[in-house]
Amino acid sequence: MALAVALVVTLITLISVGIFVAKVYWFPVDISTHGAAMDHQFLLTLIICGVIFVAAQLGLAYFVWRYRDKGDGRKATYSHGNNKLEATWTIAAAIVFIGLNFLGYNIWAKMHFTGAAPGALKIQVQAQQFAFYFRYPGPDGEFGPTHLEKVDDAIGNFFGLDRAHDQASKDDIVTATLGIPVNRPVELILRSQDVEHSFFVRELRMQQDIVPGMEIPIHFTATEEALKHNGGRYEIVCTQLCGLGHYKMRAFLQVMTEQDYEKWLQTQAAAQ
């Protein structure tokens, strides 16, 4: 029995680690400027955890096998512990865990403590049950005001715009796909019309809840890498449970060259 425990635990450990080491399953391609640092932090954590994981599991397996009751009348070692040893691993664990955390501090700070670069492309993102819609301010760079009573999904007025009366709304462009140019800083302003949603693009290494009653800005820059995969088209998914259609709530991110983007925006403007 002891041997079986030891073998099974070892086997589970090796298979679990092996799949990570072989990168059978790994993050999708990274298309953002900030993603590489995150992936690196993940890898670092993975290595540290992997070492602890292997040591602890194999230690467990070994002890179970080594100290099994062989029926030879041997008495167990009488020990209430070892204070020095305990102090050592307490301090070691504290240093490793908290130190690891500090290493990732920079990434978080860059993402959230500073705003978007000046001149970033501003796009409003509106989430609702169960779709995302996007609004570009148009040439005047201003978003028109929202009138709740004007919101009408059936005729496509998701933002409640009054194009007849509000000057700033006239050139606003509402789309169902998030088109962005490559290499240009983008600032998204996230808001929700009804319940909580979340904005998650795996390849952008970007996830942020969308909270009704709040406007949450996030910013990023897509890299050239984005154009090389899947025609620049990536899935935007909702990750916050929002009701029956949660699993289908998504939109697409389309990364384009600067020229393609301008052309695309004009087509969209014409369809308004």
Partner: protein, 592 residues
């Protein structure tokens, strides 16, 4: 003044009559069993729901037999609708977390064994004890009744984030009466949990027998004691959150609902001024301590069993108690790590992150000490011991993935994916359930006077141990790939290559689910046909093993024991036997 010391009801004569004896009993042992069976019933309901979910995930077009009988609306013709999937998921989470993980290890085993282990005749407040059970049962029935309301059980998840959970049926099916019942059930559960916690704390502090210093308490008692304190402080907050949520739903207030919402083309003009984030803060202020409420008793039970079957004192008893206290304390400072992407201030995220890494330290200490306990021992691999070894293995695996989620920049890509699902199922779900299995095999002789079948127990262990790894380990890979949780079907092309992994997990889920029938059979068969158990079949040292199996009505038949030793005096050099009971006057040179 003797009366002041003898807390009212417990030293009375054994009650006569079926109802007083088995149903409205004041005896902590009966109440402990009532809790245990309530959790056992719940765990099978929860398990069944998870199996239905796993079935639907991998064969969305397959008809599930009898499901349309349970809900003709939710599963017309046996085909599960997305909303019914979410309802099952919500009920699975709620039942498992509240009525299984919070109930069995703490209220079940704790009720039965805390008084005996500290040498008391009953809990400090037997009437409150009975009340807490009945309130908990009422909470369970209230929750289950939501299966039978017309628009189905709630689907907002066990966290029930508003506004989805607060604005009523306009936000979708299940958000009408079903969600009301959910909130009421949780509020009731809070009341039951608070009464229980109060009782545990008072009992531990007041009713220890002579010589039972705090530093001589078995680690099980320490764990129950700390858990009770954590529960007392956290359920009070959930209760407040539940009351406010209920007010939002039925009273028309807006604590958690901001202005200007349009749900399904309907302007919610009657709501304004609230904040969904407020709810999240209140909920997780409870929610994170809650996961420790689920796991701490398991840690205590595992420590107890590991020491007993290693025939060796627990390694670092003091460190074990201090780490329990540290975890209990720190658990109140880390709730924000559930909210890294929630829209709360990113500056606070960093503080929460540091505290979360810090709470990993006492958890690591415990792991090292368990390994230290095994080291140099003479391991008897009984089923109870196997489950405890399994607990350590699972706790390490699930705990380490917490280090990823504790770091905001890493969490961003793993949040709300299957990585999280794998993490908490291993560390809090399955590990705690392994502790329950361990506890069941260990204490069954005491509770029922008969032994459980070891062969069946081992078959059950192996299937479960390998199975849970096969189910929950792959979830980490899926999470890294970006597989979002709480999706009822995987429709996008992106997910297609990952479906085989889901199939693998589902098949194992069916195997593990089936394996639990072995346990059920073993449990009930052994109650009637098991080998008769002696007073101390495991040669264990704590006080429950000094009394007959099962113990008499007042635990010690009027002879209150006196305690001379710590709880883990195994393999004492020079001692007559391999172990020294806590109430044995034999002298031990305290060596540390």
């Amino acid at each position: 003044m003797a009366e002041a010391h003898a807390p009212t009801a417990h030293a009375q004569h054994a009650p006569q009559g079926f109802i007083r004896k088995y149903i409205f009993s004041l005896d902590h042992k009966v109440i402990g069993k009532q809790y245990y069976f309530l959790a056992l019933f719940s765990v099978f309901v929860g398990l069944l729901l998870s199996i239905l979910m796993r079935w639907h995930l991998v064969w969305p077009d397959a008809h599930i037999p009898l499901l349309d009988k349970l809900s003709p609306v939710g599963a017309p013709g046996g085909l599960m609708t997305p909303e019914y999937y979410l309802s099952l998921m919500t009920m699975h989470g709620t039942i498992m977390i509240f009525f299984v993980l919070t109930t069995a290890p703490q209220s079940g085993f704790g009720n039965y064994f805390l008084p005996i282990q500290i040498g008391a005749e009953d809990m400090a407040f037997p009437r409150l004890n009975m009340l807490s059970f009945w309130v908990t049962l009422a909470a369970l029935l209230t929750l289950l009744s939501s299966f039978f309301v017309s628009d189905g059980p709630p689907l907002a998840g066990w966290t029930a984030y508003p506004p989805l959970s607060a604005v009523g049926s306009v936000s979708g099916p299940g958000e009408g009466l079903g969600q009301d019942l959910w909130v009421i059930s949780i509020a009731l559960f809070c009341v039951g949990a608070l009464l229980g916690a109060l009782n545990f704390i008072a009992t531990t502090l007041e009713l220890r027998t002579r010589g039972m210093k705090l530093m001589r308490l078995p680690l099980t008692c320490w764990a129950w004691f700390i858990t009770a304190i954590v529960g007392l402080l956290s359920f009070a907050v959930l209760f407040a959150a539940g009351v406010l949520l209920l007010l939002d739903r039925v009273g028309g207030t807006s604590f958690f609902v901001p202005a200007g919402l349009i749900v399904s083309d309907k302007i919610l003009s009657n709501h304004s001024g609230g904040s969904p984030l407020l709810y999240q803060h209140l909920f997780w202020f409870f929610g994170h301590p809650e996961v420790y409420i689920a796991i701490l008793p398991g840690m205590g039970i595992t420590s107890h069993i590991l020491s007993c079957f290693s025939r060796k004192p627990i390694f670092g008893y003091r460190a074990m108690t201090y780490s329990l206290m540290a975890i209990g304390f720190l658990s109140f400072t880390v709730w924000g790590h559930h909210m890294f992407v929630s829209g709360m201030s990113p500056y606070t995220a960093f503080a929460f992150s540091v505290m979360t890494m810090a709470i990993g330290v006492p958890s690591a200490i415990k792991t090292f000490n368990w390994l230290g306990t095994l080291w140099g021992g003479r391991l008897r691999l009984t089923t109870a011991m196997l489950f405890s070894i399994g607990f350590v293995s699972l706790f390490v695996s699930g705990g380490l993935s917490g280090l990823f989620l504790a770091q905001p920049p890493v969490d961003v890509n793993l949040h709300a994916t299957y990585f999280v699902v794998g993490h908490f199922h291993l560390v809090m779900g399955v590990a705690a359930i392994f502790a329950m299995f361990g506890g069941t095999f260990y204490w069954f002789p005491k509770m029922f006077g008969r032994m459980m079948n070891e062969t069946l127990g081992k078959i059950h262990f192996w299937l479960t141990f390998v199975g849970v790894y096969a189910i929950f380990m792959p979830m980490h890979y899926l999470g890294v790939e970006g597989n979002v949780r709480r999706y009822s079907t995987f429709i996008d092309d992106f997910m297609q290559p990952l479906l085989p992994v889901h199939k693998f997990m589902s098949i194992w889920a069916f195997i593990v689910g089936g394996a639990q029938l072995i346990f059920i059979f073993n449990l009930f068969w052994s109650m009637f046909k098991g080998e008769k158990a002696g007073i101390n079949p495991w040669e264990s040292t704590s006080l429950e093993w000094t009394v007959p199996s099962p113990p008499p009505h007042d635990n010690f038949a009027g002879k209150i024991p006196v305690v001379y030793h710590g709880p883990y005096e195994y393999g004492v050099p020079g001692a007559e036997k391999d172990y020294i009971m806590q109430d044995s006057p034999e002298v031990v040179a305290e060596s540390h």
